[in-house]
């Protein structure tokens, strides 16, 4: 791969991460917020792999593997919580869950 330039990957990763942040901030469906978090995991993994390629090291691969594992565990727990929330109060909008409001 001659002429490898990391800047493009940095930009793609930042854009995906910002889209994930925007999804968490703007949307109110817990499902879509969880998907936006998955976007941010993906952006982080892409950056790890891009810098691993830049320095020709395998350590970034190990850490993006860890990101995959954490993302899968987080998705499982998050979806379990969403199902519980829906069972308890038919809530599909985080605005309806206001019991912790100060």
């Amino acid at each position: 791969m001659p002429g490898f330039a990391i800047e493009g990957y940095v930009i793609v990763s930042v854009v995906l991460f910002a889209l994930g942040i925007a999804g968490v901030l703007v949307r109110r469906s817990p499902l879509v917020m969880l998907m936006a978090i998955e976007l941010m995991w993906g952006a982080a993994a892409l950056l790890f792999l891009a810098f691993a390629r830049q320095f020709a090291l395998m350590d970034g691969h190990v850490f993006s593997f860890l990101i995959l594992v954490v993302g899968a565990a987080e998705a499982a727990i998050g979806l379990g919580l969403i199902v519980l929330l829906f069972r308890a109060r038919e809530a599909v909008d985080v605005d309806e869950v206001r019991e912790l409001r100060g």
Partner: protein, 165 residues
């Protein structure tokens, strides 16, 4: 970036826009699937063959099936749509502005730095053998951490869901 990487990057960003712009959760899941598959293409283009394949199998396969399953579970009575108007005034606008500001700042910060020239990769970079050596010889603690995390997640989900009498 090669032409394939550019196309995959554009598709990934388009899928990301689709995730947060779709009203219906099923369309969000399909957009996320597009993003994850494009990311897998980018990973493989970066030489990370093993991580790319794991991304396709674990993420685009298992986790997305979990999402679709939960959506179909929630949709049994009615479509799980959020309420049309936020209780927090200006949430959409200011949330979008905050994300855009963050994106600009991160891009400026990321491109200010002059990166050294990329090193040439060794033979077999990113293949299963190299990945296994890195994981099992150098980063065994990470592997054990991942195993512990997965176990905690499984036990936690079972306790969360099965606690109801």
């Amino acid at each position: 970036m090669s032409a394939v990487a550019v196309v995959a990057a554009v598709l990934a960003v388009a899928g990301g826009v689709g995730v947060i712009a779709s009203r219906r959760p099923v369309r969000s899941v399909l957009s996320l699937l597009l993003t994850l598959l494009s990311l897998a293409v980018l990973f493989i283009g970066l030489g990370a063959e093993f991580i790319g394949l794991i991304q396709i199998i674990v993420y685009a396969g298992a986790v997305m099936v979990l999402f679709v399953f939960v959506i179909s579970l929630l949709s049994a009575k009615n479509e799980p749509l959020e309420r049309p108007v936020s209780l927090l005034p200006g949430q959409e606008r200011w949330g979008g502005v905050a994300a855009a500001v963050l994106a600009v700042l991160l891009i400026v910060a990321g491109l200010r730095h002059a990166y050294p020239a990329a090193r040439s990769v060794f033979d077999g970079y990113g293949a299963v053998r190299a990945f296994g050596e890195a994981l099992f010889y150098e980063h065994v603690f990470v592997l054990q951490l991942a195993a512990l995390l997965l176990m905690v997640a499984v036990v936690g989900v079972v306790i969360l869901i099965a606690r109801r009498s």
